[in-house]
Amino acid sequence: MLSPASSNGNLFKHHIAPNGAAYAVGALLLVLLFAGAYVSDRFATLPNLLNVHQQATGLAMVALGQTVAILTGGIDLSVGSLISVTATLTSGLADNPYGGWGTAIAAVLVLSIAVGLANGFLVLWLRVHPLIVTLGMGAVLQGAILYYSTGPAGNVPDGFDSLAYGRYAGIPVTATLVVLLYFAVSFFMRHFNLGRYVYMVGDDEHAATLTGIPRARVILFVYAFSAVCAGLTGIYLAAQFGSGQPYLGANYTLASITPVVVGGTVLSGGRGGVIGTLIGVYLLSLLNNLINFAGIPSHYQLVIQGAAIIVAVSVNLQRKRVSA
C-alpha cells in the first residue's frame, strides 16, 4: 500500500519495515490526538475533527500530486501558480455562454494537463533540474494570469460552494472523496505498471533507462498528474472562497511539500508513498487546530509548526541517506 516491496507474507519485514516512516508519523498523529484531548475537551470531538477534515481538503489535494512528482526524484514548484490560475479562471469563466461553469471546469482541467505535460517535456528535453523548470513555469503562469485579472475574477455560481462545504450526514463530501482518491492512487502505484515505474525511476534513473522502463512516459505522467491535482485544488478553492484571485495559490507551493516529506517520502525519490502524505496532511492540520485551541497567539504558531517539522523529520525511522 505504501512503498511497495512485496505483496504477501511476512507482515513486519515486508510491509512495515520499508514504510517505517509512515507508521512513525501515524504514531505521532495518535500522540497528537491524545495531547489535544488533554489540552482542550473540544478538540477531540467529532464536530471539530470533521471541520479539520474539511479544511484539510485543499492541502491534501495538491500534496497528492506533489507526492507523485517527488517520488520520481523531482519536484513541482509550479503548483502554487497553477492553483492561482485555475481558481481565477474557474470563477472568471463561470458564466460563459458555452455551457457555464461545466465548460469552465473542463477547460481549466485541460489547461492543467497541458501545463503538466509542458513541465514534463522541459524536464526531459532540456534535461534541466525539475526544481528550475517548474520554478520558471510557475513564474510564467503567474505572469500569464495577471494578464487575465489583477484581482478577484468573477464569481462562482450559487450552489457551487457546495463543492467546498457540502456535507452528507454531517460528513464533508469532497474531503472524503479526496481521501478515497488517495487510496485509489495508492492502489494504482502498487498494482499498475506505471505506478511501479514511478518508484523505479526515482530509485535509480539510470537503471530505469537501461532496463527499458519508459522513463519519458513516467516523467510526463507525474507532472501531468501533479498539475491536474493542482488544478482540482484551484477549482475547490474557488468554490471555497466564492471567487479566485491571482495570488491565491502562492503559499501552496512550499506548503504542499511539507506533508510529503513529513509523511516519509524522500526528496531524492524512490521511497515513500501517498498514504504517508495523507497522514502528514492531517498531522499538520491537527497541529494547527490544536495550537488554536491551546490559545497560543497566531504569532507563535509558526514557531511551533517549524519546530514540529524539525522534530518529525529528525525522528525519521527509515534508513537515512547521507546528504549535504
Binding site: 522541459l122 513564474a139 517539522i309 546528504s323 549535504a324
Partner: protein, 323 residues
C-alpha cells in the same frame, strides 16, 4: 563503463555541454545581455540607472555568495530570506540611534550563527535533506520574528544603516562597496584558499574527501554559517534601504539566489561552479528586471520573462552523465 547509446549529438549541443561553457558561458551571456539592453533602451546605460541597478544588485549579490558555498557542498539554503528579514527586524529593535549599532551587529551575528548552525547540524548530524532543514529554520525564524513584532512591526533603523542602505562613499553606493568587499574576501576564500579546496572536495565526493582527512560535516556546517552570516549582512543593508520595519524584507531572495547560482553554472548536486559565476547569474537577474521595466513591459510580462530566462539559462549547462 555503462554509457549505452553513443549517438552523436549535434555539434551545437556538444559545445553547449562542455565544461568551458559552464565556466565562461555565463559571462558571454552577460555581455550580450548588456549590449542588447543598451540597444533596447537608451536609459539603460545612463549613470543613474546603472547606480540604481547596482544598489538592487548588492543585497542579492551578497546573499548569492553565501548560497554558492552551500550549493557547492551539495546543499541548499532556503532560510536566507528569513534570516534577512530577522536581521532587518533586529535593526529596528533598539533605540534607533547609532549608539545601538554594536548591539545590533552583535545580536545579528548571534542570530545568524545560530541559524547557520541549526541548518548545518540538521543536515549533517540528523541527515535531514537541506531543502527541508533550511525551510524549517526559515519557518522557525519567521515565527520568532512575528512573535516579537506581534504582527505589527514598529521601530526605526539607526542612521548608520540608512547610510549602509542608501548612502554613498566616494561616489559609490555603500551597499555596493560592501558587496565588493564580500566578493573579494569570499572569492579568495573559495577559489584560492585551502578551505575553498576542501569545499570543492566535499561537494564533489564527500567520502573521498573524508578519506584524505577532510571533515565533510565540518565543512558543510561552516558553509551554512557563511550563508547565514552573509544573509544577515544583506538584511542589515536592506533594512537601511527600506528604513522602517518590514517583516518581509528579502522576500523571494531564497529562490532568486538559488536561481542565480544555477544560472551561473552551479550544479545543484554540488562540486561544480564558481563564485564569479553565481554573481554573474545574479547580475543577469537584476539586469533583466531592470530592462523589462525600462522598456515598459507590464508587470505580468516581467514575471513571464523571468520564468523563461531562468529555464533557458539553466538549460545551457546540461552535462552528459559522468558515469
Amino acid at each position: 563503463m555503462n554509457s549505452v547509446v553513443s549517438k552523436r549529438r549535434p555539434p551545437i549541443a556538444r559545445f553547449l555541454s562542455t565544461e568551458l561553457l559552464r565556466r565562461y558561458g555565463i559571462f558571454l551571456f552577460l555581455v550580450l545581455l548588456v549590449a542588447v539592453s543598451g540597444v533596447l533602451s537608451p536609459t539603460f546605460l545612463r549613470a543613474d540607472n546603472v547606480v540604481n541597478m547596482l544598489v538592487q544588485f548588492a543585497p542579492l549579490g551578497i546573499v548569492v555568495i553565501g548560497q554558492v558555498f552551500v550549493i557547492l557542498v551539495g546543499g541548499l539554503d532556503l532560510s536566507v530570506a528569513s534570516v534577512m528579514a530577522t536581521a532587518a527586524v533586529i535593526a529596528t529593535a533598539f533605540d534607533g540611534t547609532n549608539a545601538s549599532a554594536p548591539a545590533i551587529f552583535g545580536a545579528t551575528f548571534v542570530m545568524c550563527l545560530c541559524a547557520g548552525l541549526l541548518n548545518g547540524l540538521l543536515v549533517t548530524k540528523r541527515q535531514v535533506s537541506p531543502f527541508l532543514a533550511t525551510f524549517a529554520t526559515a519557518v522557525v525564524l519567521q515565527g520568532i520574528r512575528f512573535a516579537y513584532t506581534q504582527g505589527s512591526p514598529s521601530g526605526n533603523v539607526p542612521p548608520l544603516f540608512h547610510t549602509m542602505g542608501t548612502g554613498t562613499l566616494g561616489g559609490a553606493p555603500v551597499s555596493v562597496l560592501m558587496l565588493a568587499v564580500c566578493a573579494v574576501v569570499f572569492g579568495v576564500l573559495l577559489h584560492l584558499s585551502t578551505f575553498g579546496r576542501r569545499v570543492y572536495m566535499v561537494g564533489g565526493n564527500a567520502e573521498s574527501a573524508r578519506l584524505v582527512g577532510v571533515s565533510p560535516d565540518l565543512v558543510r556546517i561552516v558553509c551554512y554559517v557563511i550563508s547565514a552570516l552573509l544573509a544577515g549582512v544583506a538584511g542589515l543593508a536592506l533594512s537601511g534601504y527600506v528604513g522602517i520595519v518590514d517583516n518581509w524584507v528579502g522576500r523571494g531572495f531564497e529562490l532568486d539566489s538559488i536561481v542565480a547560482a544555477v544560472m551561473g553554472g552551479l550544479a545543484l548536486s554540488g562540486g561544480r561552479g564558481s563564485l564569479p559565476g553565481g554573481l554573474a547569474g545574479a547580475a543577469i537577474l537584476v539586469i533583466v528586471f531592470n530592462i523589462v521595466l525600462l522598456i515598459g513591459m507590464p508587470v505580468q510580462a516581467q514575471i513571464i520573462v523571468k520564468g523563461v530566462i531562468i529555464i533557458g539559462a539553466s538549460a545551457c549547462y546540461v552535462t552528459r552523465r559522468l558515469r
